[in-house]
Symmetry: C2
Subunit: 430 residues, 2 copies
């Protein structure tokens, strides 16, 4: 279903479709490569990045200087920064990916039918994976490594703030691929065409098999609205922790603290704490004091405000608080009358990322697991475990909050599709 | 990622979002229902349709009269027509779906991590499934049956040509659901809002979890371009059969005939025959004569035209022929110099639906299977086997030609997603 035949293409669209066509051709070289070949390539890419460390850091310094002058915040500058140690870390992550099992070739289902036809549904690479992301040069390498390991070509569109860094990273990776006898076009970028290149990538349906946006809500919303290429939506996590009437409160306290404060910029951090009214008087003073002690800005309903110990400030929570993914040391707290009220609150405000119940009641845990609709449901565990590494996937290209194809952390398997292989002996359909 | 907050909605958009919200609420009643409950409901729906047979046939007659007067072709009128026997058949299909295993609750993956966290990835319903299709009232029931069995609510948009038929079908299904104590809103239609209702359904992102268009290429292209809801693209099959140098030609002949002529309106029918030059002189006269004898209109390259026996007309094939899904008794034929040339031809023109090789050469079959990128690859079998029923899925809601989520025939499993359930004992992330 190419759009080329029915629409007049801009020069950028045409150029990016050409990039995608080259990626498609290049992907064929990798689709049938053995795991040994692919792992050797990943090690070679890691070596090449380490060898180019000085050059990478110098290019990155140009990005940092420009963005610092442009007023980028210290937090974002830190995410953008490359140091020799960080380059080593990025290379080490590539070697870790080389150590993971290869999903390609796995037989997902298979049987011999009564008529003698032999069926196999086999995992195969997607083909061409597009990644649109913000100013984190490590994502450039991560995405390339995961795509290559799963047999795909990748087309990258990084944030303009990392333009020089990404330019050098991509050149180093492409040179290393060629040195390994593989097509350089397995890794390409549309950054030279800037924002228009990203939009053209979203329109390259039929050439790009999947597009994965990674970044803030604005970026993801744009990609979802604009793309005709199938998108896997990642990211936004408005995450709840519900402390049930039967919860072990000594266990609940560290789980709440871990969920809410360990790494507030992560999408699996908690935004809202729901506490059953039967344990509110006992639990809220403790947890609010602990949260305030960790510099967490608190918002609460009237019952929560009433339960706050002296010296702990709790501002009245509004619908804005229930709806917001803070990505900051900030938490909304509400007292609920029942498990049903907790589930109803979550249904109203959840983004379907991660929801947790802390309970010792088997039926309550089972109802919560069954009735809460999210990529991950935690029982007596921190919400921070929704992560490819923590869930044993070995690596992660993002966390899907949609239901199609992949839900939750996406690893190598999620970068593959399947193919039915049907073998007969002259079988025709009656 | 609701659009409601950022865009001014039309009345139709608002009304359809309301339909979708009711579907979402209704879906919760079914998401946790047991297989026994769901199967009993499907039998009750089948009973209700049979009981309403006269009313359905009468409503259908109104559609038929109007469309006949409007000049609808006899083929399309036949697809639109309901008879008491067809209503019985539609009801029987519902009972067959009741007999299939329930995908919900299947544990896809699971393990206990070294830190003691217990992981399960469990199959759960999508939630709300949207179906946009053309004038076939049986699809209304099929889609509802498959969606309900897999625990989903369904929102339907049928072709306007079947408006009266679908109106009665939906009413009968909704009444039967209520009689079973389930929400009628598990089955809804946006047909009252006509084309605008269909477009609004495509925009109901965040409320509708997946949209499946079923119909001609035009319908599918529109849905893909317009929808912000994730779409599973179905359908177009530009299907090739390659007769290798080593093929058993006595076996190849019936496979080609079956692929090319058994049901030409189906997407798994063959459009192009590729013949290796080493067997062209032997095979082409036989197969061309057989095809011509079956009234197949033939197009061919120069070598094919040269090999045609007396009295068999073969028109020169153009790029248009290589590109076209005929959906008619029509076939393009080309002689290729090698397996590579066959694969290259398929790569150029394939829509990724079904491709077949007829061969006795193990390495040739393995290369074809590995290098041809399609939902289904047949070895020594008719292309007509790409079908949910034939591949043992029991039922089919469409055949996906995209790589995301579902590829090839889609059954009940493809109408589900997964949920990670993570159980700990106070686990926090270090």
């Amino acid at each position: 279903m190419s759009l080329a035949s029915t629409e007049v293409l801009s020069d950028v669209d045409a150029a990016v479709r050409d990039v995608a066509r080259r990626a498609q051709v290049a992907s064929r070289a990798l689709a049938t490569a053995s795991r040994g070949t692919k792992d050797a390539v990943l090690h070679a890419l890691a070596d090449a990045l380490v060898a180019a460390s000085d050059e990478l850091v110098a290019a990155n310094a140009e990005d940092l200087d420009r963005e610092r002058a442009g007023g980028m915040s210290p937090g974002l500058l830190d995410r953008l920064a490359l140091t020799p140690a960080r380059v080593d870390g990025i290379a080490a992550a590539l070697r870790d990916v080389a150590g993971l099992p290869d999903p390609v070739g796995e037989v997902v289902r298979g049987q011999t039918l009564p008529n003698g036809l032999r069926l196999r549904q086999v995992r195969v690479p997607m083909g061409v994976v597009g990644m649109i992301y913000e100013a984190r040069p490590n994502v450039t390498v991560d995405a390339a490594g995961l795509a290559l390991k799963s047999g795909n070509a990748v087309i990258l569109r990084g944030g303009s703030a990392a333009a020089r860094s990404n330019e050098v990273v991509v050149r180093v990776l492409r040179d290393a691929l060629e040195a390994q006898g593989l097509p350089a076009d397995l890794v390409q970028t549309v950054d030279p065409w800037g924002r228009a290149g990203g939009v053209a990538l979203m329109h390259a349906r039929g050439l790009v098999d999947v597009l994965i946006p990674r970044g803030g809500a604005g970026l993801i919303r744009t990609v979802v609205a604009e793309s005709t290429v199938p998108v896997i939506e990642t990211g936004t996590g408005n995450v709840h922790v519900y402390v049930d009437a039967s919860a072990d409160l000594d266990e609940a306290l560290p789980i709440v603290m871990n969920s809410a404060t360990q790494r507030v910029g992560a999408c699996n951090s908690a935004e809202t704490l729901l506490v059953h009214q039967d344990v509110a008087a006992q639990f809220l003073p403790r947890v609010l004091a602990a949260l305030a002690g960790a510099d967490v800005v608190l918002h609460g309903d009237a019952a929560t405000i009433g339960a706050a110990p002296d010296g702990v400030a709790v501002a009245p929570a509004t619908d804005h608080d229930w709806a917001t993914e803070y990505l900051a040391l900030e938490l909304a707290v509400r007292v609920v009358a029942s498990l049903d009220e907790a589930i109803e609150h979550i249904r109203t405000w959840s983004t379907g990322h991660t929801e947790a119940i802390l309970t010792n009641d088997l039926r309550a845990s089972e109802r919560f697991v069954a009735e809460v609709d999210a990529a991950a449901v935690m029982v007596n565990a921190s919400t921070r475990f929704t992560d490819g590494g923590e869930l044993g996937l070995g690596a992660e290209i993002g966390i899907s909050t949609q239901k199609l194809h992949a839900r939750g952390p996406m690893g190598l398997t999620e970068l593959t599709t399947t193919k039915w292989v049907v073998t007969g002996d002259g079988h025709v359909r009656p």
